[in-house]
Every structure is written in structure tokens, then in C-alpha cells.
């Protein structure tokens, strides 16, 4: 991965007007421009799925900070994706209460059903599987998060049902 590649466009041409407006709001509530970095990464990622090198460089330029510094930030936080991900990123909780209440069975179910392992994306580009630390649903474990939604009290059937539902929605051209 070449993170110091040349940005052909200036950041204000690369970033959309609405992205810049959202980032500007984040800058306005902080004392420094770079304090908006994490929010800026999230804003662009929400629009484009993941943070590629050009996005990273454009955001850094917009925040008047070095690309390397922002790369350090982007790679630190697990909810920032520096590699392409599927349309639906499955964040499966692998912390202790899920571990005690059937996490492994859910993991095996997802792996088999989608034929992917942690860190991989299905060939149709729909699902990426990642682990996540405790999602704060310990009274309703096992738990996973896909997009904004938390799915709780998972069992084998329910997990497959959720995945099937999302695939159907996607086939119909809808989002969750």
C-alpha cells in the first residue's frame, strides 16, 4: 500500500460539498482542525464504504495535517476500515459474556453460511466478517452489530435468518 502517493485532485475537489460541510461542523466544535480527524474519517467512510489512500490524503490535507499522522489515527481505531469491506460489515462480539453463552456456535454458523473467515469478504461483496469487543448487550448475548443495528440473543436459526434477510434486501436494492 502506497500511502504517500500523489493526490491528483485538491482535497476540495476530492471531497464532496456535503462531506466538507459535515467536517466543517466537527471542526467548529473543536479547538483544532485535526481534532475533527476521527469524525472526518467516519464521515467519508459512511459515504464511500472505506478509507482508501486518496480519501486519507484528501482528509489530511483538508485538516492541514500530515497524511502519515492521520494514517496513524486511522489504523488505530477498529471502526475505521483501511481496506475495502462488503456492503454489510458484521461485527461479531467475541468478549466474555458472549463467549460464555454461545459465541463460538454463532461464529461457526456465520463462517459456514457465508464461507468466509474473520477479515474476509464474501465474493459477492455483500458481507465482511470482523470481531468486535463487548457490544454492551451482555444481558442479551450472543450479540452482533451490522451497520447501525445490534442483533441480540442470537442462535443458529436467528443468525442465518438475519443474513438471509439482508441478502434479500440487497437483492431488492434496498438498504437496512
Amino acid at each position: 500500500m502506497n500511502i504517500i502517493n500523489q493526490v491528483v485532485l485538491h482535497c476540495t475537489q476530492y471531497l464532496t460539498a456535503s462531506e466538507m460541510a459535515e467536517i466543517d461542523h466537527e471542526i467548529s466544535i473543536m479547538e483544532t482542525r485535526e481534532a475533527a480527524g476521527i469524525e472526518a474519517l467516519k464521515i467519508v467512510q459512511a459515504n464511500r464504504g472505506w478509507i482508501n489512500d486518496d480519501s486519507l490524503t484528501a482528509i489530511a490535507q483538508y485538516l492541514k495535517m500530515s497524511t502519515a499522522e492521520l494514517e496513524g489515527v486511522a489504523t488505530f481505531y477498529n471502526l475505521i476500515y483501511r481496506q475495502p469491506v462488503g456492503k454489510y460489515v458484521i461485527h461479531l462480539c467475541n468478549s466474555i459474556s458472549c463467549h460464555l453463552t454461545g459465541y463460538n456456535e454463532i461464529l461457526q454458523t456465520i463462517k459456514q453460511h457465508l464461507a468466509i473467515d474473520y477479515g474476509q469478504t464474501t465474493t459477492d461483496g455483500l458481507f465482511t466478517l470482523l470481531s468486535n469487543v463487548c457490544l454492551g448487550g451482555c444481558d442479551k448475548s450472543p450479540v452482533m452489530m451490522i451497520g447501525d443495528k445490534h442483533y441480540q440473543q442470537l442462535n443458529v436459526e436467528k443468525t442465518i435468518e438475519v443474513l438471509t434477510q439482508l441478502k434479500n434486501l440487497s437483492d431488492e436494492g434496498k438498504n437496512i
Partner: protein, 433 residues
């Protein structure tokens, strides 16, 4: 009267949280109005000190004392014009802990009211709610409540006709457990990698953007409106024990009814586990438990009578932490449980200091070996050495010592299980994971 016995949770509505009008009709914002109109910041500080409120985020530091470290300058001192900050730590990521989520999603206006009181007391005009990125619903509900509060003159300039101004923002994080450490949280809020900072200087003096900053947990803050409304003496009287107030206790694992309950501080472990969580699920026995999240020492069935307050749990050899029981049953392998916990700490180590960055993965390697029946007696010694290597005073922050707590106590209480793994060459619970 629920308001006096269950102050934190009696207005919680997870389906549809109270809007500002409804919250106000139930006595909401009375605490804030009392603070702003009847008391000076110094007087509020005295009330909070007198209430003996302690931090509910895990460390149990007295809140009033923490606030008192914020410097106050005379009006003619240029430093009096500098910003101060209040930050609410809503980065709830301690495994087995889900209490703040209840308050964030169920009664967002309570937190906003609390932050007005806290910010007024320390003299902050800007405040942030640092929310973990996964709490999408909480973020949405908080923002709606904040917008309402601005419209009704509870936030912004000249709050409720006083000269006090406060702006409140929600910052959603992008993951990583270490953000819950208050100086790491400040770095994250500044857009940096969330490495903890060296202390001193303490954040109360030089925190966010180098300015005096108070970081308080969601549950800690949520007590403030009620202390203002009902008085410090009421708060002390709510609990029959040495620690004041109520506590949101939780239980998870294979118990009959996992959940959260607001009880007087000092309810016993047995009360939480048996009376509220309904005891162990059918066919299972209690093997041990972590009393307050992943980074606390194991306690055993003989500890069921221990009150869950800071001192009593400490005397029993653990920490109250977040007050959320993680219950281990007799069909789950304790070695596998400790392995899961250490995997968590190894993954979430920020990598700044060697004992943590290298020690936690090393422990994972050894525990994996033991769990899969390939361990030796030397491995137990190595683990004990690591517990020493990663202990308080040898690391940059409390993450690695937090990892040591369940590990070291497991080696003590579940020695037989570790030995069986080594002697039988397999996991006696499920023949390896």
C-alpha cells in the same frame, strides 16, 4: 417512592425515552435549576463532596475531590478567561458492562441535566459526551435531547435567564477499549491515537487541549440532579452501607435472568445473583464470578455474602469495578474464560509500553497452549511471572494490571483446573476449544 429509592432509573424508558416536556413534568431539570439559581459553584462543590459520591466508572474516586483539583482563578487573572472542559465518559467497553447504555438510551435528559450541573460547578462552558461508536441508538437519542435542550434554553448562552453559558456536543468514537482511560479519551477527543498520557499533569489541571478538564462516567454524572434535588444527606441515607447512593448492578453469563438493577450501594453479590438474576440457569452451578467487569479479580461461591461496595469487595480481594457480575458456571472452562479475557486485553492494548504490548500476547500464547492440553508446569510459573511483570507501577496505565487481576486470581482459585489441563493433555470441559 421510586424517585427516592431508584433515582437513576425510575425515569428510564428504553422504548421511547421521555422528551424534554415529559422529563420536566416528572421533576426533571429541578436539580439543575436549583444549582444555577440557588447555589454558587463553590456551594455545589461542597454539596457533592458532602454526598460522598464516588466515580462509577470503575476506579471509585470521590467525585467532589476530583472536581476540587480544577484550578480557580480570580476574575482579574488572565487564566480565568481560559476554557475549561467537562467530558462525559460514555465509552462503555468493559466486557460484561452495559449499565451506561441503559441511562444513555433510556433517559438522555438526565445526563444533560447532570452535565449542566457539573459544568457549572467546575466553570466549564464547553462539554462533550464521548460516546463509543457502537452505541448508535444512544447517539441518536442524545442528539435529539440536546437539540430540545438548546430550544428550551437549557443549553447555549444565558441558560434559564442566568448568565451561565454551556455548549454540549456528542462525539462518537471509532472503537478501542483504551479510550475509556481518561487521558487516552482526551487524546481521542483531540483526534489523536488513544494512547494514555503520563500523569502528572492530571487532566483536572491540563487535559483537553491543555486546559483544565473533568472526565466523569455516565452513571456518576447521572446522580447529580438527584443529589441537588434531594440533598447530600438523602444520598448518604439511600445506602445502609459505608458507600453512599445507589448502584446499577448487572449480571451476565449463564444465569436465569441476566439484566441490570439499581439497588442501594452495598447489596450483596448473592442478592444480585440470586434475588435479581434468578440464580444459575437450570442444571448449572456457580463456579466463580468477576464482580465488576473483565478487569477485576475472580470471587468464589463463598463470597456471596460480600456487599458490593468499594471497601467490602476490596477486602474480599477484588474490585467493585463497574458492578456488573460476569458469572462463570461449572460447564464453562475457567481456563478458556481467562484465555478469552486475555485475548481481549492483548487486542486492546494500545502498544505504548512493553509490559502490556508484549506481556498480554505472551499470556495469550501460554494460555492457549494450556487450554489445548499442551501446557507444562513451567507455563504456570511463566504466567505468575507475567502477572508480576505487568503489575501496577511497571506499566504506563491500568490496562495491563487490569488483565492481571482475572489471570492471577484464576491461577489461585482454579489451580486444579489448570493442573487437569496439563496432566490430562486436553481441556476436561470440551476437549479443547
Amino acid at each position: 417512592m421510586q424517585a427516592l429509592t431508584h433515582p437513576l432509573t425510575y425515569l428510564v424508558n428504553l422504548a421511547t425515552p421521555l422528551n424534554l416536556t415529559q422529563y420536566t413534568a416528572q421533576g426533571g431539570y429541578l436539580g439543575a435549576i436549583k444549582a444555577l439559581k440557588e447555589f454558587s459553584p463553590a456551594q455545589v462543590l461542597e454539596i457533592i463532596k458532602d454526598s460522598q459520591l464516588k466515580g462509577r466508572g470503575g476506579a471509585g474516586f470521590p467525585t467532589g475531590m476530583k472536581w476540587s483539583f480544577v484550578p480557580h482563578y480570580d476574575d482579574d487573572d488572565v487564566r480565568s478567561k481560559e476554557n475549561k472542559y467537562l467530558v462525559c465518559n460514555g465509552d462503555e467497553m468493559e466486557p460484561g458492562t452495559f449499565k451506561d447504555r441503559l441511562l444513555l438510551e433510556g433517559v438522555p435528559h438526565q445526563l444533560i441535566e447532570a452535565m449542566i450541573i457539573a459544568a457549572y460547578t467546575i466553570g466549564a462552558n464547553k462539554a462533550y459526551i464521548f460516546l463509543r461508536g457502537e452505541y448508535h441508538l444512544a447517539a441518536k437519542r442524545l442528539q435529539i435531547a440536546i437539540d430540545e435542550a438548546y430550544q428550551a434554553g437549557w443549553l447555549g448562552s444565558g441558560i434559564q435567564g442566568t448568565g451561565y453559558q454551556l455548549d454540549l456536543y456528542v462525539h462518537t468514537s471509532a472503537g478501542r477499549y483504551i479510550c475509556g482511560e481518561e487521558t487516552a479519551l482526551i487524546n481521542a477527543l483531540e483526534g489523536k491515537r488513544a494512547n494514555p498520557r503520563a500523569k502528572p499533569p492530571f487532566p483536572q489541571v491540563a487535559g483537553l487541549f491543555g486546559k483544565p478538564t473533568i472526565v466523569n462516567n455516565v452513571e456518576t454524572l447521572s446522580n447529580l440532579p438527584h443529589i441537588l434535588k434531594n440533598g447530600a444527606q438523602w444520598f448518604k441515607d439511600v445506602s445502609p452501607n459505608s458507600d453512599a447512593g445507589t448502584k446499577i448492578y448487572g449480571a451476565c453469563g449463564r444465569v436465569k435472568s441476566p439484566g441490570l438493577w439499581e439497588l442501594p450501594m452495598g447489596a450483596t453479590i448473592g442478592q444480585v445473583l440470586n434475588d435479581h438474576a434468578g440464580g444459575m440457569s437450570d442444571g448449572l452451578k456457580l463456579k466463580g464470578l468477576l464482580p465488576g467487569g473483565a478487569s477485576t479479580d475472580f470471587l468464589m461461591p463463598e463470597h456471596l455474602d460480600v456487599p458490593m461496595d468499594y471497601d467490602s469487595i476490596a477486602k474480599a480481594g477484588s474490585r467493585l469495578g463497574t458492578g456488573g457480575l460476569i458469572v462463570l458456571d461449572d460447564k464453562n472452562c475457567p481456563v478458556a474464560m481467562v484465555l478469552n479475557l486475555l485475548e481481549f486485553f492483548a487486542q486492546e492494548s494500545c502498544g505504548w509500553c512493553t509490559p502490556c504490548r508484549d506481556g498480554t500476547p505472551w499470556a495469550v500464547e501460554i494460555l492457549t497452549r494450556i487450554e489445548h492440553g499442551k501446557g507444562s508446569l513451567d507455563d504456570i510459573d511463566s504466567l505468575l511471572n507475567l502477572c508480576d511483570f505487568m503489575w501496577i507501577g511497571k506499566t504506563h496505565c491500568a490496562l495491563a494490571p487490569g488483565a492481571v487481576e482475572p489471570l492471577k486470581s484464576a491461577l489461585k482459585y482454579f489451580n486444579d483446573d489448570f493442573m487437569q489441563h496439563i496432566e490430562q493433555g486436553c481441556c476436561p470441559y470440551h476437549g479443547g476449544r
